[in-house]
């Protein structure tokens, strides 16, 4: 059987399949559906320094081959995660990666410092691309100087693996990717959701309470794939790819385009066991094409 292991500095994925932040809760929601130890890693729901109630209902709209969400980083704050949630999931034999959010650089720093003290956490994902919060979030990720600034600040305090999650809502994602690489990121993850909107024509009203929200699902796959491929041409650090992955073929496409690992997001809602099927499918593909390890297909698109 092919070797599926992926190492990104302190981080060790036993296979390239991880779950995307905000689509997999804290893992516990899926325990009845699967053995979580089989996953490469779990990117848990976005954390902020304080408790956040998130946006008002309605927060969701279905769209063709996708969905919009406007959750707005509802979470009980990093302390609650560290003290109450993490102890319940730290025994899992899979990497648990917190997704770090903030309205200001200081916020990001404070969250990171709390996690610094938590044993067993080998990596954080810096979310500079959330389109659903009024302050911070995506604002950091759509300008290169601010993306660099927050990455540099966190790099100073976080010594283990630092993953920066990029926004697709930009003219040139390669510029931002190079910027955060220069600022010390160990990996980039992309993409977060696309800013979109849905309207109820009969009521003449937006469907989401926040008017706009983040688009995810297969609809965005072609754009996400293009971005991964573009970023792969310009950075040396590993890429964790995502955006509409529904099955193993999709995952393999992202890997061929340059992703060392992938995240499964919206697909979890439709088939909570989909990640296991994706792991199986990648194994079969590697075997069928006589590859020795998962890393052998990364970036191997013949153009």
């Amino acid at each position: 059987m092919a070797d599926l292991n992926i190492h990104i500095k302190d981080l060790h994925f036993k296979n390239p399949v991880t779950t995307a932040s905000g689509t997999f809760g804290f893992g516990e929601e899926f325990m009845e559906f699967m053995d979580l130890n089989l996953l490469g890693g779990i990117f848990v729901k976005g954390l902020t320094i304080k408790n956040r109630e998130g946006n008002e209902y309605p927060r969701m709209a279905e769209t063709p081959s996708g969905m919009l969400n406007a959750v707005g980083l509802q979470n009980k704050g990093v302390d609650y995660f560290v003290n109450s949630i993490y102890p319940r999931i730290k025994h899992l034999h899979t990497e648990i990666i917190p997704n770090v959010n903030g309205g200001t650089v200081e916020d990001y720093l404070m969250v990171t410092e709390k996690l610094n003290e938590t044993e067993g956490i080998n990596a954080i994902e810096l979310n500079i691309s959330c389109p659903n919060v009024k302050e911070g979030g995506m604002a950091f990720g759509v300008s290169c100087p601010s993306a660099v600034a927050v990455t540099e600040a966190i790099r100073k305090v976080w010594k283990k693996t630092l993953i920066v999650k990029l926004s697709p809502n930009v003219t040139d994602i390669t510029e931002i990717a190079k910027g955060v690489e220069g600022a010390g990121a160990d990996a980039v993850s992309l993409v977060n959701t696309f800013l979109g909107m849905a309207i109820d024509a009969e009521k003449r009203k937006p469907i989401l309470s926040t008017v706009t929200g983040g688009l995810s699902g297969p609809a965005i796959k072609p754009i996400a794939l293009r971005m991964v491929w573009q970023v792969y041409q310009v950075v040396k650090i590993p890429i964790i790819g995502m955006g509409g992955i529904m099955n193993a073929t999709d995952a393999i496409e992202f890997m061929l385009a340059g992703a060392s690992a992938i995240q499964v997001g919206t697909a979890n809602f439709i088939d909570p066991q989909v990640s296991l099927r994706i792991i199986d499918g990648i194994e079969k593909y590697l075997a069928g094409h006589h590859y020795k390890k998962a890393g052998d297909i990364v970036g191997q698109l013949m153009t």
Partner: protein, 257 residues
């Protein structure tokens, strides 16, 4: 224990053009199912429906390994679900959500508005088993919108209100005389239906000092607590209707009532 399981369409019971009961059967034994539980159904054979759709479990036949759902066709998914050939595979995640609390009740009032009747067949069965006296108050726009009244009659007295007076009392559910009568013997109200109606019922319950549980139908992306899309405001902040609900004690909800 939550299941992800393939079922097959066994039969339809067409109530009228837009309302139907769908019966789905499977091979394995059903898990325990409680009144108020729902299922996330993956609607097959259509390009228009991306996410699963949540439906209350209308009835569960453990012997025949089948589930029934009452569906009102209001959009793409609910229409398609009503058009499948017998034998079509339909995938379900179930049972989801919490259930009604039937402890310490002497006399229950069930108030179902419009299509908000689905969770009440299982509830009626549970109440009957517990020998709790139950009265059913069904409100609808017209007589054509009153469903399952005969079924409910098996479990207790059925009262009906229609907005146009074509069946039962004329008016809204909350205008029914049982609420204005001096004698209000009920010590628990269960309600499901359009939000404004549930709020009105909750308001009456609060005034009368009677405990009231409502089954909410918020928009859901997952149905099992992973997406945080389905929230409702409670005294403890935003809670997911799919895990903390769908049944809530109305006192706990931050409804402007």
């Amino acid at each position: 224990m939550k299941q992800i399981r393939d079922f097959r369409v066994k039969a339809y019971d067409r109530l009228n053009e837009d309302n139907y009961i769908i019966e789905l059967g499977c091979d394995e034994e059903l898990p325990a199912i409680k009144a108020g539980n729902f299922a996330e159904i993956q609607v097959p054979q259509t390009a228009d429906v991306f996410l699963r759709r949540p439906f209350s479990i209308l009835d569960a036949d453990h012997k025949n390994r089948s589930l029934k759902f009452y569906v009102k066709a209001i959009g793409k998914g609910t229409r398609k679900l009503g058009e499948l050939a017998e034998g079509t595979k339909v995938n379900l995640i179930f049972p989801l959500g919490n259930s009604f609390n039937t402890d310490h009740i002497r006399h229950a009032l069930i108030a179902g508005g419009g299509s908000g009747i689905a969770p009440f067949i299982l509830l009626a069965k549970e109440l009957k088993e517990k020998k709790i006296k139950t009265i059913f108050l069904l409100g609808a726009r017209t007589r054509e919108d009153v469903f399952l009244a005969d079924e409910f009659a098996k479990y207790g007295e059925v009262l009906i209100t229609t907005e146009d007076g074509s069946l039962g009392d004329k008016g809204l559910i909350t205008q029914h005389s049982i609420f204005s009568k001096h004698d209000f013997p009920y010590d628990k109200i269960f309600t499901c239906g359009p939000d404004p109606m549930m709020k009105a019922v909750a308001r009456i319950a609060a005034k009368k000092g009677v405990n009231c549980e409502a089954s909410l139908e918020n928009m859901m992306a997952c149905g099992f607590g992973a997406c945080l899309c389905c929230v409702t405001e409670t005294l403890d902040g935003n809670k997911c209707v799919c895990t903390a609900g769908p049944v809530f004690d109305t006192k706990y909800l931050k409804w402007q009532i």
